[in-house]
């Protein structure tokens, strides 16, 4: 029986150990590279990224339109609104409900439902009293002319992710809508966000 020289055996063992250590090191480094995320935070960030992309697109669409400035007549504002709305509609042809809210819709519903639990039925009724209830929201639809912009309770607003200038949350029917102020358009909405008052 022949025996391997001890130096060769040792070399093989050290080779194996090196491979093992490299594997361990690699797995440790891989784990460190995979940042653990807060799923809610990630959803809200993704929502705000989409919102910011919308605002960026809108700013480009405003190029060439006469900017609105204070005037003795508001006809300039109306012209700007109509022209901007047309451009946004054209640019977002095919946009669908959920394009911006995406997976955060459930979070928005949760925030509003939680708020409603802190209010009496009378208070909730008062909140919803001026909400336009006859119109169903639709993406790219005009917020109904003549309908009140029902006040969104400030304690709800405080809990919703802050929006960039020019966009706002409003209620419409039982939906929470994202409204473009200058264009008076519904940008996206969360259906069934507003609980029914019993």
């Amino acid at each position: 029986m022949t025996q391997r020289p001890p130096s060769k055996l040792l070399a093989n063992i050290s080779w194996l150990i090196s491979i093992l250590m490299a594997c361990v090191l690699a797995s440790v480094l891989t784990a460190a590279g995979q940042k653990k995320v807060n799923p809610t935070g990630a959803q809200v960030k993704a929502f705000l990224d989409r919102v910011n992309a919308y605002v960026e697109m809108k700013q480009k669409l405003e190029d060439g339109l006469t900017p609105v400035s204070p005037s003795d007549r508001t006809s300039g504002v109306e012209q700007h609104r109509t022209a901007l709305a047309e451009r946004i509609r054209a640019a977002r042809r095919g946009a669908r409900q959920g394009d911006l809210f995406g997976a955060t819709a459930a979070l928005f519903r949760e925030i509003i439902v939680r708020d409603s639990r802190t209010r009496s039925a009378r208070d909730t009724g008062a909140v919803l009293e001026e909400v336009p209830s006859r119109s169903e929201p639709a993406v790219n639809a005009v917020y109904p002319e003549g309908a009140l912009l029902a006040t969104v309770p400030p304690l709800i607003l405080t809990n919703l992710p802050p929006l960039p200038d020019g966009l706002e949350y409003r209620f419409m029917g039982h939906a929470l809508i994202l409204r473009d102020r200058a264009a008076n358009l519904v940008v996206d909405f969360v259906p069934g966000a507003i609980p029914t008052v019993r």
């Binding site: 204070p70 006809s75 006040t151 400030p154 607003l157």
Partner: protein, 299 residues
């Protein structure tokens, strides 16, 4: 000061309006305020923009009052316009009823209400400069105007910064929804109160004006701040004042407007009804307070 020009057909409208609406039994206005030479004098109106007879009558009375009490600006507490808000409506519901005042160079500073279109902030005669919330100063008084229809965090940060950085002798805040009201229809806006009142206390706000409930009410001082509801300069909800522990004085039988005077030491108010009679007058001393400390992060 630039005189405001009103479209020619508006002039005929206002004449027609005044001829048709001058009430038969209107008491002559008597001024119940100190009427000091150097004081800040103004009028407060809310929920006025109906374009109806009562608004014109109040507009005529405001002009009459100015002959005795020479104010040079008007604060508008929201719902400056109801219903249609096309360019022609600005004539019918604003320029015509207040033509005499506009022609005399009286300035109007508006807050937005839930019936106002947001884009009306670009209407030059309302002096909002395109902003939903803004601030301006008249002598020793700083005015802070809010859009309580949409009080988001950005606006909350704004008002806190503005109040903190103001060392004006008087701080007056006005907006549409009342933090305190005994109006049966709406009443106190508790959400708003939860957010705004701590700031008002912390930064030494002296007086707060609001509308929304279509009544007049002077509230008993709350945390040493004077609150008023003046929401019946066009609209009226007769019988809606449900007198409560909050009520210092109030009136809900006719449309009203307020004359306000602020000098160094006191704020005086007078509420005048459509019939010309004074339905409330009071003088309140400037609050003696310890200046608010800056926030810890600023020290």
């Amino acid at each position: 000061m630039r005189m405001h020009r009103v479209a020619p057909f508006a002039a005929s409208m206002v004449l027609l309006g005044l001829l048709c609406t001058t009430p038969a039994a209107q008491a002559p206005i008597r001024i119940a305020l100190p009427n000091l030479a150097d004081s800040v004098k103004f009028v407060a109106i809310g929920d006025n923009g109906t374009g109806e007879k009562a608004q014109y009558e109040i507009g005529a009375l405001m002009a009459q009052a100015r002959e005795l009490f020479p104010y040079d600006f008007v604060i508008m507490l929201g719902d400056n316009m109801y219903g249609s808000q096309r360019p022609s409506d600005f004539v019918k519901k604003f320029e015509a009823p207040y033509k005499t005042l506009l022609d005399a160079g009286v300035k109007f500073y508006a807050a937005l209400g839930n019936h106002d279109k947001q884009e009306n902030r670009f209407y030059k005669p309302w002096n909002m400069n395109g902003e939903r919330y803004y601030t301006y100063t008249k002598k020793n008084v700083r005015f802070f105007v809010l859009d309580t229809d949409y009080l988001d965090r950005k606006q909350q940060d704004w008002i806190e910064n503005e109040l903190r950085s103001s060392d004006d002798e008087w701080k007056v805040v006005y907006f549409h929804h009342p933090l305190y009201s005994s109006g049966g229809r709406h009443g106190s806006e508790v959400d708003l109160r939860e957010i705004l009142e701590p700031l008002f206390i912390k930064y030494g706000v002296n007086a707060v004006f609001a509308g929304h409930d279509h009544i007049y009410e002077r509230i008993k001082p709350q945390s040493d701040i004077y609150y008023f509801v003046s929401g019946s300069a066009g609209q009226l909800r007769r019988g809606d004042l449900k007198r409560s522990a909050l009520t210092a004085a109030g009136y809900d039988q006719e449309q009203t407007f307020m004359l306000v005077e602020i000098d160094t030491d006191a704020l005086a108010v007078q509420a005048i009804a459509k019939s010309g009679k004074t339905v409330d007058s009071a003088s309140m001393p400037r609050q003696k307070r310890i200046p608010a400390l800056p926030p810890i992060s600023d020290r």
